[in-house]
Symmetry: C2
Subunit: 125 residues, 2 copies
């Protein structure tokens, strides 16, 4: 038995993301499995530990509202060699700013809701 990384189902179990969704992410360019040229009987994709990490990053980024496209850019800055250091830093700085903006908006909304809760409480009197 020859093993090079893991197949899609194990990756799914490891990350809690379904094989279907993993294939969707692969088609979207977020991750890339590798085919083993020494195996000719099938064309199964093999995934490494780095892919597990990438999928965790994708989960985190999605949960805070980044789109697949935005995550793709972030991943390029993170993992690929297609960008210069300056370009990478620029992408990362942009994301930082986007996050700061979101935090500000969330805090503003918290304030609004907090004020409204007081109003609602005083309806009692």
């Amino acid at each position: 038995m020859y093993f090079c990384g893991m197949l899609i189902n194990e990756l799914a179990k490891r990350t809690g993301i379904t094989a279907h969704t993993i294939r969707f992410y692969e088609k979207s360019g977020l991750i890339q499995g590798k085919r083993d040229e020494k195996i000719t009987s099938n064309n199964y994709f093999h995934y490494d530990e780095a892919t597990v990490e990438k999928l965790e990053l994708i989960k985190d980024a999605k949960s805070i509202g980044f789109t697949i496209n935005e995550i793709g850019n972030l991943m390029d800055a993170w993992y690929s060699n297609k960008m210069t250091i300056a370009e990478k830093l620029s992408v990362l700085k942009d994301k930082m700013q986007a996050i700061d903006e979101k935090i500000s908006q969330l805090i503003a909304m918290k304030q609004m809701i907090g004020e409204f809760m007081e109003t609602v409480e005083n309806e009692n009197c």
Copy 2:
């Protein structure tokens, strides 16, 4: 000329939301225009200042990632009389918690990106 509030196009101008999208929100139950029973020649909807405020709230809530459905619940707690004070407070508290969670996740992501920026910068050496 008889005026009761504003028609959809003025509401659109006031809020920066297109008439199409406003109708979509109306169909989704987020806002409600009123028809003037004294006018029989048409069935135009009339909107008041409160609707302007609601649409601003919708914009804010959307920008921080709330869905139409979630915004609907929030608006019920905010404006409707269908809920008791305790129910309203419960909805608002839930939203507060959801926002706190999002803020935590955003801060965690900022940290990750920050650490990664340092790594990228050190690739220079």
